[in-house]
Symmetry: C2
Amino acid sequence: MATIEDVARLAGLSRATVSRVINNHPYVTEEKRKSVQQAMEQLGYVPNSIARQLRTQTHETIGVLIPRLSNPFFSKLVDAMENIAAEVGFQLIVCQTKSQKERELLYLNWLKTRQVGGIIFASTENEWDVIKPYKEFGPIMFCNEYPPHTEAPIVCLDQLKGGYIGTKHLLERGHKKIAYCYAGSQFTNIRERYAGYKKALDEYGLPLNERWMFKDAYDTRDGKRIYHALMQQADRPTAVFTSSDEVALGMIAEAKRNGTAVPDDLAILGFDDQPIAELMDPAISTVYQPVEQIGITAIRMMIRFLRNQSVPVNEITELPLHLVVRHST
Amino acid sequence: MATIEDVARLAGLSRATVSRVINNHPYVTEEKRKSVQQAMEQLGYVPNSIARQLRTQTHETIGVLIPRLSNPFFSKLVDAMENIAAEVGFQLIVCQTKSQKERELLYLNWLKTRQVGGIIFASTENEWDVIKPYKEFGPIMFCNEYPPHTEAPIVCLDQLKGGYIGTKHLLERGHKKIAYCYAGSQFTNIRERYAGYKKALDEYGLPLNERWMFKDAYDTRDGKRIYHALMQQADRPTAVFTSSDEVALGMIAEAKRNGTAVPDDLAILGFDDQPIAELMDPAISTVYQPVEQIGITAIRMMIRFLRNQSVPVNEITELPLHLVVRHST
DNA sequence: AACAATTCTGAAATCGATTTCAACTCAGAT
DNA sequence: ATCTGAGTTGAAATCGATTTCAGAATTGTT
């Protein structure tokens, strides 16, 4: 593997001059520039990015913290981020936290060891106070979820509105008993979505029923589980506001299998608007989330921080959601 | 950010001794070891992995080349790989090639720049001759797909068997006109699957009909497209061997929407056995692929190469597939 | 022709670790 | 008392780049 030293020797020049050519510095005569380029070509030389990173104290790797990659919401998010990162030569490192606090901290520590230059939390279980001390080791930002009192850049979705329009839609269809599913995460803007749900109920003068709240709703299996938990109740809801299209999917499949008509016996509202939502029978009504958009916005911001070695400002960027009405409600 | 120098100074010792403590070398008195550990603790010192990588010429980052992360097959694969990598402190870098040759080469170049220590191809468009020259810059291996004449470790699935058992199942159900979908990739073991399909037809003395071959079958949209292409034909197939559960999904959704009964009018076989396959109505018959298994096997092998700085041996590890019969066939 | 300003170049320092090598200490053997 | 060898330590070299600084070459100005 050729080094800058080899190139310098072959071109009969110093390492400094070769470095200047590589980095397009001025003050190199055309003649020597050519000669260096030829030597690089001849040796198949490519600068060693490790050495460069050490010397310049810069970074081109970004850690993205997500619960699991096989969750379509997050794989879509990372997909969008990677496209942008690749355009400018940055690398994305997958960090699956499994929604565990300790694993989040493990990956956060990679900032200290310089294994990543910056970190984007796409989900989080830790409180801000725990994360905050790591700020001095590199840019940290949040995309999608964030703990309360966060002092870091945030790119997120208007979950309050999401909860509100989803619930309102069900109310307008005449439902008065609306169950609500949520993922287990204690913080995050999911609480905002819940606030939107409450707000809509309030407007219709309806009370909140604790027995219709279902937690740990992540995937299709949870959907099935919740379907049964729900049907067992004496005072059954007539509609469910699920936490994701996967949950809605599992629920619908199980409902059909058990002879529960959707939406007549039970209306089911998804969340995300994944391709599959449109393909189900009945097609799933859902709340569209611009996943790619938040991913792109967040990664662009992070790249700007790393490029300029600038300190992140604590601004919050909120993108809108909208309702997609199909046939499951 | 504290460096080894700071620790040495605080402990009143040399950098060498501190390094010995960090790396658990023998020949350090217990007294000094304690004193170094205390200094590290006090300064919150963590070794800089960039500096370490430069000096030791080792790597702990692995690039995984996939077409797209939002394809569930690949997100599941990377998911499994990341779990293992994280256990031993290795980092996984997502490289989405979009099935483009140039992008594969772009990422392959990261071996030269030392942005990754090794590369796992989970899909590939380039011929082996094009990839081969990069072998000298770090371990390269294949997981799932591989070009012909590959001289590198391969972990894959018995696609020949997959094609065979899938087709045979349809034949046994009495189908004589079986369409076949495949992804566009020109090489890869997908050709093996096709060979299995042909083998089964051969055994039943049935000819191959070129008009029933559909390429570029990747996702649900392709499934819809192919459904229509297929129904337009005068001499229509009665069964389809799709290239993935997503394709089968799109096809089934479109069939139902157009009044085609599945499986009575058209039997549809998936591939992968994703969670969704079981949830569809009708539930999708499919060929189960042990995705996690090949991911785990491949990443373990790669970590071994990087740890021992050993040259990969060109062995091929083939894992079995099996049929899952549900209601779409 | 003398001087200043600009352009160009390389030696050496630097980033933060690991590793080599020489030297030094201290038992135990002769 | 001397020698040997194992244990222990630090100075200096090293990995492969970038950057500083000083000096040389060239150009422009009076």
